[in-house]
């Protein structure tokens, strides 16, 4: 059986020249690979990913902002529409009132006119009737008087004079 150290254990810790050469070659190759290719590649991927995630966040925030704005706009429009509607309603109401009032006043005016016309016509008819009545009463009275006093009053001057006197008398009687 061979013992563990066997006397040349020290040679383990004395690097050989070719060992050093190959170690350095490998070290340099590994270092260059990692510094120049591997880490920049992955760093760019990490950065890109972070950027993308951040970009998505900002995009989402932007979309939310836009949505908020649209909502605000919509609400504003809604409010405006509501106000418009109420205004229109008020207008309509007042217009209706106006119309009703106009109609009222027109009707009143018409009624007054009609009344006035009627009164006027009544008045004129009354007058006509009065005149006619006056004439009729005159003739009637004349004929009556003629019949009563006979032929004496054939003279028209006399006749009208008498008639006037009689009417005056009647008026006076009416007044008393």
């Amino acid at each position: 059986m061979v013992t563990l150290a066997g006397g040349d254990g020290i040679s383990l810790f004395i690097p050989k020249l070719y060992d050093i050469v190959w170690s350095l070659v490998i070290l340099v190759v590994v270092a260059v690979f990692f510094y120049k290719y591997f880490m920049p590649k992955f760093n760019s991927i990490f950065d890109e990913r972070a950027e993308k995630i951040e970009g998505n966040f900002s995009k989402a925030a932007k979309a939310k902002e836009e949505a908020d704005e649209a909502k605000k706009k919509y609400e504003e429009q809604l409010n405006g529409a509501r106000m418009d509607a109420s205004k229109i309603r008020d207008d309509a109401r007042s217009e209706a009132k106006q119309i009703i009032a106009d109609a009222h006043s027109k009707a009143d005016a018409d009624a007054a006119q009609i009344t006035a016309t009627a009164q006027r016509s009544i008045a004129s008819q009354q007058q006509q009737a009065m005149v006619k009545l006056k004439g009729d009463v005159g003739t009637l009275a004349t004929s009556l008087a003629g019949k009563i006093i006979g032929q004496e009053l054939k003279d028209p001057d006399m006749q009208s004079h008498m008639l006037d006197q009689m009417l005056d008398d009647m008026e006076n009687e009416g007044k008393q």
């Binding site: 059986m1 013992t3 563990l4 150290a5 254990g9 020290i10 383990l12 810790f13």
Partner: protein, 75 residues
Amino acid sequence: MGIITLAQIAGNLNLIGYGLAALGPSLGLGLIVSKSVESTARQPEMAGKIQTLMLIGAAMVELLGLLGFVALLIM
């Protein structure tokens, strides 16, 4: 193992020396680990930092044990 092999192992005093040299670092490692477990239990939020420090300390102590091993090899 035969009697000859036993005699050969007994002949290598370096191994006994290495066994003795491993005693100190083993105690040290035990202390380091027990203390860091204690600290982690006290402040769980510092666990990462404590673990890092523990590993650095353990690496220092481990070196002492390995120096014994190296001495075993080269003597």
